[in-house]
Amino acid sequence: DVKVTQSSRYLVKRTGEKVFLECVQDMDHENMFWYRQDPGLGLRLIYFSYDVKMKEKGDIPEGYSVSREKKERFSLILESASTNQTSMYLCASSPGLAGADTQYFGPGTRLTVL
């Protein structure tokens, strides 16, 4: 079974703090993704990576950055956390097959910024 793990289930930070959310997958997947999930808005893509050190902006990259130094790990960074970044953050990975692909999700990190 594919396993995608996220470093924290719940996280509370203060405004202005630098926040790191870590995601690790164990299936040698090419692609990794960061989403945020908000009520009534569904999942919105923040960034994705299709290879080590490669990244592309999703629909809502402002206020976030990412890092992928190793294939299995994809980090989401909030440079200076703000209250409007309070949300559920979901990491996903996929094999990278052209077209016929499936995403596998981690359990999510619920971040609260005070």
């Binding site: 808005l41 999942l43 592309e56 077209g99 016929a100 359990p107």
Partner: protein
């Protein structure tokens, strides 16, 4: 741009009754279609997917979905729901390339 519309944000249904969760997408080209389920405080799990071939797709937990190209729909159905089906359901679309597009979700509540 891709968009996925889930027409119902909340669907209450009695236990053992049938249910249909609706999903429409905007695209005139080939797409790959997915339904995911999210149980409380968990990540998303794949229920089923349509890649090609038969338009009726069967998934886990007794769910099935039908791809209708002319109506650009991919509705999810189950003939008899259980309490354990209470969850959030997401429809997603993918074309060639790496990006998935998700709907806003439908919250299914099964009433005893």
């Amino acid at each position: 741009a891709q968009s996925v519309t889930q027409l119902d944000s909340q669907v209450p249904v009695f236990e053992e009754a049938p249910v249909e969760l609706r999903c429409n997408y905007s695209s005139s080209v080939s797409v790959y279609l997915f339904w995911y389920v999210q149980y409380p405080n968990q990540g998303l799990q794949l229920l089923l997917k349509y890649l090609s071939g038969s338009t009726l797709v069967k998934g886990i937990n007794g769910f099935e979905a039908e791809f209708n190209k002319s109506q650009t729909s991919f509705h999810l159905r189950k003939p008899s729901v259980h309490i354990s089906d209470t969850a959030e359901y997401f429809c997603a679309v993918k074309r060639t390339g790496n990006q998935f597009y998700f709907g806003t979700g439908t919250s299914l509540t099964v009433i005893p």
